[in-house]
Symmetry: C2
Subunit: 365 residues, 2 copies
């Protein structure tokens, strides 16, 4: 337990500042007057790059590394690109992942009451699983390192290591053991998603998975090829508990999964390393709706709740875990009451949602 937790806050681009401010307010409301969290803001992103030529200033990196946790809105703007065509505004997210070795990207997929799934016949509770995305290697290891020869041949290299696979797979089994909302058939299960039939590095992923699985005989296991998995997430989402996969596949599958529970506005994430934790919604900066006050803040609010969970567990600080639980309960209540932003078919503004959540949290305190 600590007296003060330093939270490094980076607003970022597009709707980032709106949803980030909402999450900070909600956390403050959940913790009340004696809150041990101290928020400091730091610049990064595409806007900052346009102004200063730097997308991720060194002082921001130092502050993030030193902080107890990092909270981010969203980063990047289309068209703000480096000479190689990749986006400058993504430095913050992508460099943090690699430089702080945030190897575990935990993406809960849950259909809340009040939110309509595009899948027919699916109701709240039917979808409740975790996509655990390896976040420190895989195809993303090629970022900034790809080659383009004579403008004719481009090459990116996918790297998977035993150490990297082992730790993410262990994390998957631990998450399966912790999950209270086990899948509907009552089995705790980890699904290894890969492309072992075609590519050596994914066959290696699977073989390391099989090795590690022996240490968790109480958890059921299975393999799924990534293409089949994309289908399963549409046809039998209720089957899954924890899905573990390489970085690039996790990126694709987690957006797909989000689509089945209300879209990117309902997709929180937690990116965790041995020392640091980084929390942001999985959505982008959505410049088309930025500044309109209509962004869905729940992805960031739920990510902030994960931040409190993580801090609470790390520092044996129950107050924080309880606040996280209250935020999730109030989120559930607000959604069930029909407090929906435009992306969910509603008319509530970011501010209206934030105020309602804060009011209910104040009442619950």
């Amino acid at each position: 337990m600590k007296h003060v937790y330093e939270i490094a806050v980076v607003h970022g681009d597009g709707i980032g500042p709106e949803v980030c401010a909402a999450a900070v307010e909600v956390v403050k409301a959940a913790l009340g007057s004696g809150s041990p969290l101290r928020f400091t803001e730091h610049p990064a992103g595409a806007e900052h790059f346009l102004k200063t030529g730097q997308s991720f200033p060194e002082p921001t990196f130092q502050a993030c590394r030193a902080a107890d946790a990092i909270l981010h809105g969203a980063g990047g703007l289309p068209g703000v690109v480096y000479a190689d065509g990749t986006e400058a505004g993504l430095d913050f997210t992508l460099r943090l992942r690699f430089e702080l070795d945030l190897y575990a990207n935990i993406r809960p997929v849950r259909l809340f009451e009040g939110v309509q799934s595009p899948l027919s016949g699916v109701k709240a509770g039917d979808i409740d699983y975790i996509i655990l995305r390896e976040n420190s290697e895989g195809l993303y290891a090629a970022r900034g390192a790809g080659a383009l020869l004579r403008g004719e041949v481009a090459v990116d290299t996918l790297v998977q290591t035993r150490v990297g696979i082992e730790r993410i797979v262990r994390k998957a089994f631990e998450l399966a053991r912790q999950s209270n909302g086990a899948p509907r058939d009552g089995v705790r299960r980890v699904t290894c998603c890969d492309k072992a039939n075609v590519l050596r590095s994914y066959a290696f992923f699977r073989s390391v998975f099989d090795d590690v699985a022996k240490d968790y005989p109480d958890v059921a296991t299975e393999h799924a090829l990534v293409d089949a998995m994309a289908m399963h997430l549409v046809l039998k989402p209720g089957h899954f508990n924890v899905i573990v996969s390489e970085n690039m596949f996790g990126d694709i599958l987690s957006d797909l999964a989000a689509a089945t529970v209300g879209g990117m506005g309902m997709a929180p994430s937690a990116e965790i390393g041995a020392a640091n934790g980084f929390f942001q919604a999985a959505h982008g900066s959505a410049p088309d709706i930025a500044g309109k006050g209509i962004a869905n803040p729940f992805g960031t609010i739920l990510s902030a709740a994960s931040m409190l969970d993580w801090l609470g567990l790390k520092h044996s600080d129950e107050k924080l875990s309880q606040a996280a639980e209250r935020i999730r309960r109030v989120t559930q209540a607000c959604l069930a009451k029909g407090l929906l932003s435009a992306d969910l078919g509603g008319t509530s503004s970011t501010r209206q949602i934030t105020h309602s959540v804060c009011d209910r949290l104040a009442a619950a305190a």
Copy 2:
């Protein structure tokens, strides 16, 4: 026009022989007594590997290369693997793609009347687009070439070339121009799906796409990141006309797309090069239901129809194109009448479906 078209038939593994036999029967029925097609069977696959140590015998390769077209059931069996962990039974499909340079993998995605989409509120006609998967490079270029160092580090290399991207993108624009079933808003559109924001080779894909697009001012264009695309295929499938992407992404997206129109049983494909054409359903060998007579043959039947289209166009042979059109019409009629296999929620066997299709074709002749 030719007097005889040689079709090399490979049954393969699992349900392969059942669905392949069904498609051959249907093609024969569609062309009637004077059929110019001559079918010869050749061995390949996991079963053949188990028996002989070879999954793709050289005579089979020679026959396929010399044939006017290649028709395949399905290949591969889980557990029948090489020392590196990848599947031996996939040699036939994967080596054909590379050795015959079958660069264009055309995967039509269409919701037929009578088939229930898992997406709520979606009906026949609402989903009708093509996923054009680059089939000769990308991450699949690493197959058989990945490295594993000291059992600790595995590496696969993704390669994308200007020549390879250019030809697949041109194909995408040509398909968009041909498409009679343009998307619902009446716009012919090619969507470039990549991960240009993060990886150089995908940024290169996008830049070549933008260059080529200038030659097709009559076709609308747009970019979509692969993660967002996975979401779009669930949330707004009616928006798309032709989607073009790198090999690995195309693999994932086409299974996902198939899930929205009835599953892998309804997913035909055509793999086309400058000289050769290779036709098979996109599904695997489904060993769990092999030999039970319940496999859905429509994926292979529709792939065989694409074969007739392709042969008809190549050899200016209208009989063939007309037969293809009849097969699609009869398929539509049978599905609308409720002739559904178990995967579609029905009880019709592979034989029942095949007989009904053939009877109707005979009546239509």
